[in-house]
Symmetry: C2
Subunit: 442 residues, 2 copies
């Protein structure tokens, strides 16, 4: 009994330290979230700004006298519509505005229709109820359509909301038209405030994010391949502890969802930076798919890095062409990443791809010469698998380069004398490598 | 001029047929969506039912007299909270209820605090505005924390919404406490109606969906492997046009997001069917990860199916063990799928895995015997790559089996005499294969 009391006491005494540890943990996580993307801090302040602005409707007497408690809908709209990127905010704002207008009109229409029949207070609500049942069931089902879900899901939800609200409350409220008008105006005001803050205060463009994401993902694949040769053939120094470049590709494997969301948002955005309205965002999804194809192969290659490393004498036979293939495709991928990032045609890439194809050919001839006869063929399999995966990666990179070339044509990328923000450390001639010359491949 | 008019006229005449084609297309898509998962139709009717029920608050006089226009919040809550699965509905309902309560209390508190200082109608709104700015900025930033985003994102949004609403409107409204009380009661009522309809009318359980998804995904991998041997070694009949089993695995590659969403929803669900509250849903995510590992290898194997098929004489040398490995792992995966589906320990799987490991060993000895000396080693590479990928798949399957065994232990799967819903056509002894016997592997 006494020991239980002691235990309970100890638990109680430990509570503050457990709690403070939890708080410290959360604080460090909050810090990390902000460090990963400082625009998140800015976004929070932007949302707060928009809400504080819109709450002026309540505090400033002349504004309040105009709208009364309908002003609440402006606050409401700002909170719900304010998303991280401009595209998402515009999409939600458009969805909300259009759906409110349409559903409001339909709700009023159905009320007047039922009302004009003047069938008394028993039949009327039953008719209205049946109408609400049918329309909500239909629209809810409509939300399952994939193309609706991707772009108009929020609009359909708001449609149901507004339709029910108008057609239900019209049954009790008399000044329904006046209320509806005020509400539409406040929702428009809220949407405008939200969109203005989103666009004019340090905007975050979904399109730019998608653009940078593709560039970064391809760079990660390049980083892996540039380092892979040294890692696998054991020429890198043992004490080298910074192997993060070998893990970077993993985020590419599951990037599909993020890319699709960003592409959906980007379509709403007006022209900004180097992007016109109607920039070929779909092409980025194609590039993303090819990057993932490449990442799957790299994942398989990575598996061989961790397997037993005893067969150095076998590896050394194909070391040269394999290292060449790996390094050259790595360089090609990194230049493709730079080309996307700086919006220039991927001109200097073809030489790297050509070199890696030459290496693939010399690999074939090495294997054909039968240097392997004295070795156990079974020991050769993993080495040959690595070689064939590298050949796969070369053809993946080739297709990726074609796809990025297509993007450059569609989006009218041009060579610039002075790239504005060179993220990569490079000598200038890499950017100004003259007109694009296609090398016939395949 | 005349031709333009003619063109315009033709365009106008074509409009109805274009429009009707569009409508027909949408109709067929709607039909397809319903066929894919008939529960979607049921869900639409359920939502409509809940909304119609809650709109009684408006139509029935005694109910309306009690709540007045606050009844709108019940309609509102039902529309927003009604999600496809029970878990998602419960999660949203809990988030909404808890956030409304907390934010309402804090909003009132901050209003009374500012009000009690009685600093006049200039300073008061400034103080309230500053408070709103700080709290909305903080909570918006909090939404970026990954663990918050996964489970409480909606709650944090509702918190901002309610806090602003209460603290702003309290500045103009006098009967704020009365309004707040009515609102809380209507929101609770709406939430309860929505959750009741979700649970008691043909419920859709996210947990059950996750469970079936894993089972189905593993079955798809099994289908591929069972058929792969015949496809690759060309023993299948040419006229056989039904190759859909070779494409099924592709949906597994990108299943991560769906699985994580379902696992998040499933945690909210009470016990149902064979699932207790606190069922090891995390283990399903591990199983999902291993399935994807396996699917990546299968994707690589699939690439070899479409490559040139000239080297039949080389393939035939390793045909027997490779076909054995492929078929046996295929069988093992399909039995694992059945074990998950029927919630029984995966007992009869080990024999298949053991057989495929025996095949792998015999593959090694075939390769060691040097049957290859007369052939060009370069032609051998793709065949050896396929073989080594198959060996990879065997070890993937082994890990998958261990992980599913772990699930069976955690979730206390038991052998049943009469499985309730055997989805697969099997002989009964496959289910009643006696106590689980572990074969030492690795």
């Amino acid at each position: 009994m006494v020991s239980e009391v002691t235990k309970g006491w100890q638990w109680l005494m430990a509570l503050p330290s457990v709690f403070s540890a939890k708080v410290m943990d959360t604080m460090s996580q909050l810090k990390k979230v902000g460090k990963e993307d400082p625009r998140r801090v800015v976004h929070s302040l932007k949302v707060a700004l928009a809400i504080t602005l819109v709450s002026l409707f309540y505090y400033v007497k002349p504004l309040y006298n105009g709208f009364g408690s309908s002003a609440m809908w402006a606050v409401f709209t700002v909170i719900v519509v304010s998303e991280f990127s401009v595209g998402a905010t515009l999409g939600k704002g458009f969805n909300r505005g259009f759906a409110t207008f349409l559903a409001g009109a339909m709700g009023l229409g159905s009320y007047y229709m039922v009302n004009s029949m003047s069938m008394g207070h028993i039949v009327e609500p039953i008719l209205l109820g049946a109408l609400i049942f049918l329309i909500t069931a239909g629209v809810t089902y409509f939300r399952f359509l994939p193309q609706m879900k991707a772009r108009y899901d929020y609009g359909l939800l708001v449609f149901i909301l507004t339709f029910c609200m108008v057609s239900v409350s019209s049954y009790r409220d008399c000044e329904i038209l006046d209320i509806a008008l005020k509400r539409v105006i406040t929702i428009l005001t809220g949407g405008l405030i939200s969109i203005s803050v989103s666009i004019f205060v340090l905007p975050v463009w979904a399109g730019g994010d998608l653009h940078n994401l593709e560039s970064k993902n391809i760079e990660k694949l390049g980083n892996f391949l540039e380092g892979f040769g040294e890692e696998y053939f054991g020429t890198s120094e043992v004490g080298d502890s910074n192997k993060s470049f070998l893990q970077g590709y993993k985020s590419v494997l599951n990037s599909k969802q993020v890319e699709e969301n960003l592409a959906n948002f980007a379509r709403w955005e007006p022209c900004h930076g180097g992007f016109r309205y109607g920039h070929p965002w779909q092409q980025y999804l194609k590039i993303g798919n090819l990057s993932r194809q490449c990442a799957y192969r790299i994942d398989a290659l990575n598996g061989f890095l961790n397997s037993t490393k005893t067969l150095i004498e076998i590896r050394s036979k194909i070391q040269e062409p394999c290292m060449k293939m790996s390094t050259e495709t790595g360089k090609a991928l990194k230049k493709l990443a730079v080309a996307i990032h700086n919006m220039i045609p991927p001109s200097s890439v073809d030489t790297h791809i050509a070199k890696s194809k030459v290496a693939a050919t010399s690999l074939r001839s090495i294997i054909k010469t039968g240097l392997w006869e004295e070795t156990n063929l079974f020991d050769v399999i993993p080495v040959l698998t690595v070689a064939s995966l590298l050949v796969d990666v070369v053809s993946c990179t080739e297709r990726l380069a074609e796809s990025i070339q297509e993007l450059a044509t569609l989006a009218k990328f041009e060579n610039k004398k002075h790239p504005t923000s060179p993220r990569h450390e490079e000598t200038p001639q890499q950017h100004n490598s003259g007109p694009h010359h296609v090398i016939a491949i395949n």
